[in-house]
Symmetry: C2
Subunit: 133 residues, 2 copies
């Protein structure tokens, strides 16, 4: 009997419920992300009795990346571009690097915006403390 784990690229194989528990993202939302093309489960061809999707550890990483990205204002579409530039074969090497560089620039911009906001909120605090508002 051959150990299947030597034959698959999957370190770990889980169904959607386990993936949901490990990431804190609901199964509904995970399915929504899958329909949106951000992640991808695999059906086991050798099992004919069901059509369950299996997910690996990379999917957990992707979902954590998606959570971070959404939290700082990236859209599903933008997140999809990043993931595709990393994982997908539909782009050339050059295109991938262009997309990733573009997103790095967005990140720098967001970082500046956060610093500006922080400065302003500290000023607001100062205004409140000194009864200027």
């Amino acid at each position: 009997m051959v150990d299947i784990y030597f034959l698959t690229p999957y370190i770990c194989n889980m169904l959607i419920n386990e993936l949901s528990k490990k990431t804190g993202i609901s199964t509904h939302t995970i399915r929504f992300y899958e329909k949106s093309g951000l992640i991808e489960g695999k059906q086991d061809e050798s099992v004919k009795s069901n059509n369950y999707f299996h997910y690996d550890d990379v999917t957990i990483e992707k979902l954590e990346f998606i959570s971070d990205a959404k939290s700082v204002g990236f859209t599903i579409k933008e997140i999809g571009q990043i993931i595709d530039a990393w994982y997908n074969r539909k782009y050339t090497k050059k295109q991938k690097l262009e997309i990733l560089d573009e997103k790095l620039i967005s990140l720098e911009q967001k970082m500046r915006e956060i610093k500006e906001m922080k400065k302003q909120i500290l000023q607001f605090k100062d205004d409140v403390l000194n009864d200027r508002c």
Copy 2:
């Protein structure tokens, strides 16, 4: 004749079209923000022939703040809380400082998420450059 500008807190008085041009935000969106309670124009009581709203320079600052905040993932509701904590009288001093501190913590969190994303995208670039994807 008394100069009205000595009697008002307004440095500059403009109508919605000028405000739109100065901020790059459409008049529709500005009105939407006004309905949402983020900004507030003032009608000139002495003018009976129209009901035009007038905006001051602080409104420009607020709109720029809103743009930054939206860009890094804050919702209208959260932005409203910040602006109210700064400008509004409906909170006590203590409540205002609590809200502002809470938002500073959100900003720190977002900054961490951005740094994490940056690290990952740099890794993605490395993967692409070394044909690991």
